[in-house]
């Protein structure tokens, strides 16, 4: 038994060492996508190819890409299903909005204020991730998933009863479960279920893109570090990981908290893109949406998730004229793509077709991505 485990670990270690090149490739592709995406969208907007409506989606696209990257850290790299990512996003968004408003009278320079807000958002979301992560990471599989779902709903519920306001003397006022009296509408920051109102938009496309790049930087570096390899070793075989002395809880918690902090930052940027923001925006459906990006892009494949996030945010917007049918189509496409990429017989058929087209190519990862792309194009 022990021999088998050791053998298992040693071959895995070897594979990881050989994979050094693959990490570089992955980083190159991911950053490449980001830079090309930025240039294409900027050019498209300045030339006038991209309409006003789609331009309004630039920041959300970046945010969703960043969220897909950060969720991939939990779902793909750490191998735990999380259904409450929107909860961390909400924590970040509302923290950011409050910090921005509090700093407004004291600090005139918008970008610096935004950076401070982002840092606060990351800290608050990380704390939330830690609080929820410590107890639940001993749960397994579907039970962990349901607790993250519960967490997301709890956060949204709490946001529904939070009241914040800034009075004449710039003092922050806070109330729980009842409205604040003696405050004008302009002074309100958060108003329960109505959410944030009168937010001065601070998010720009470049800023959001920089945040996405930062998220990508953190996740890729973590993945390619000693800690990242430990996280992946635990994902592949928890017992084998424990037997060589890896602290399972510590590494799982690390992935979870880092992912939460990054989601909080993305949420903060998201919140700065709208003048009003209600807590209902961060419901279960948003968590699911981010998960869909990750799964469609290929679980654990970071740039796959990025492309899926960008496409699935742009496409429904681009097909607005089919308003009534677009979500129905989206659902059908989602089901078909999942069946197309995961059904064994279907997969074998596609593989044989690809093998016929180019018989002497490396088989592994390239194929998978080609398939999901072709699936999307058909749709």
């Amino acid at each position: 038994m022990a021999e088998r485990i050791l053998k298992n670990i040693s071959t895995r270690g070897l594979k990881n060492a050989v994979k050094g090149n693959e990490y570089r490739k992955e980083a190159l592709i991911s950053y490449g996508i980001l830079i090309i995406g930025y240039i294409v969208l900027q050019l498209g907007a300045s030339v006038g190819l991209i309409g006003k409506h789609l331009q309004g989606q630039f920041v959300p696209i970046c945010v969703y890409v960043a969220l897909a990257i950060s969720l991939n850290l939990v779902v793909g790299i750490s191998g735990e299903l999380s259904l409450g990512h929107a909860g961390f996003m909400a924590v970040g968004a509302f923290t950011g909005i409050i910090v921005m408003r509090v700093l407004e009278p004291h600090l005139g320079i918008m970008p610096i204020r935004l950076i401070i807000a982002l840092i606060f958002a990351a800290i608050m979301a990380a704390i939330a991730g830690f609080i929820i992560g410590v107890p639940i990471l001993s749960l397994r599989g579907d039970y962990l998933a349901i607790v993250t779902l519960a967490f997301g709903e709890i956060v949204r519920n709490f946001m529904n009863v939070l009241y914040f306001a800034l009075d004449e003397n710039d003092h922050l006022k806070f109330a729980f479960n009842h409205t604040i009296d003696g405050i004008t509408n302009d002074q309100r920051i958060l108003t329960g279920a109505i959410g944030a109102t009168g937010v001065t938009k601070a998010a720009t496309f470049t800023g959001a893109m920089l945040l996405t790049a930062f998220t990508l930087f953190v996740v890729l570096n973590l993945k390619n570090s000693k800690q990242g390899r430990a996280i992946m070793a635990i994902r592949d075989n928890r017992i084998a990981g424990e037997s060589i002395g890896l602290d399972v809880r510590k590494y799982k918690l690390m992935a979870f908290v880092v992912s939460a902090a990054l989601a909080g930052m993305a949420g903060c940027m998201f919140g700065q893109n709208y003048s009003t923001l209600a807590p209902v925006k961060f419901n279960f459906n948003t968590s699911i949406l981010i998960l869909v990006f990750v799964v469609l892009g290929g679980i654990g494949n970071i740039w796959g998730g990025m492309i899926a996030a960008a496409l699935l945010t742009i496409l429904p917007e681009a097909f607005r004229q089919f308003a009534d049918y677009r979500m129905l189509t989206y659902a059908i496409v989602l089901i078909l793509v999942m069946i197309g990429t995961y059904n064994p017989t279907f997969k074998a058929r596609i593989n044989s077709v690809i093998d016929k087209i180019k018989p002497k190519k490396k088989k592994d990862s390239g194929k998978k991505n080609k398939k999901s792309k072709s699936g999307k194009e058909v749709a």
Binding site: P135, Y143, I146, A150, N157, A193, D324, Y342
Partner: protein
Amino acid sequence: MGFLTNLISGLSLGSVYAIIALGYTMVYGISKMLNFAHGDVIMIGGYVSFIFSMYMGMNGWISLAIAMVACTVLGILIERLAYRPLRGTGSLAVLITAIGVSYFLQNAALLIWGANPRVFPSLFEGVSTIHAAGGKLSLSPVSLFTILANIIIMIILTLFVSKTKAGKAMRAVSEDNGAAQLMGINVNQSISLTFAIGSGLAAVAGVLMCSAYPVLMPTTGAMPGIKAFTAAVFGGIGSIPGAMIGGLILGVIEIFSRAYISTELSDAIVFGCLIIVLLVKPTGLLGKKINEKV
């Protein structure tokens, strides 16, 4: 007497959750998948019943039967078309497909019936509220019937699963898929049967829920679906008595926290209780212990 009234409405809401949770728990037990579309089957059941009783002028009970048939067929179709091609490919792929099915049902309902909320006709249109204990305790017939229906369904289902051949086959498949197949059990048929029963019950739950809270929208099923799923996990997913206990406890907690603590925070309290239970008993109240194998 406010306490008793609250308790009964809590048990009634809990019974609805329990009936929905049965669908979740049976499907999870047999195919190890989280069927997120289950909540939307409830909504479809509600709409079918609504259409037949409002536009065709049928008796509420007959339209309930029609809704059950429609949902049973729908459940079998969903399993056949969306889930079966992905069987054995890992739970995440099936989970996302289930979400796809959920979106599909919601948006199809949106296209067919529109976004406007419909007022659902109660099953007990003419029956007035029963007053007991000198008028202090008011009992709505819907609540009483829901609790009764839940108990009857539980008894029938437990008997079905433990005594009949089809029920035993279902248990065998959920215990060990491959071994069951070797014993000559038709696995596909058993799974289809599970989906059929779960979806039929979802229709019952949908009609009962809409009778008690008479608003019907394409998103009506989503939140009760999540709550019932929580109830199933609460009681130990895969266990039929667990679903009942989980549903009832959850319903009572929800109504009590609405009545005595805060309406807005009731959901947070419900989900908070779930987290606490899972921390103490990681597989739910009646769940089986998972043994680790190297």
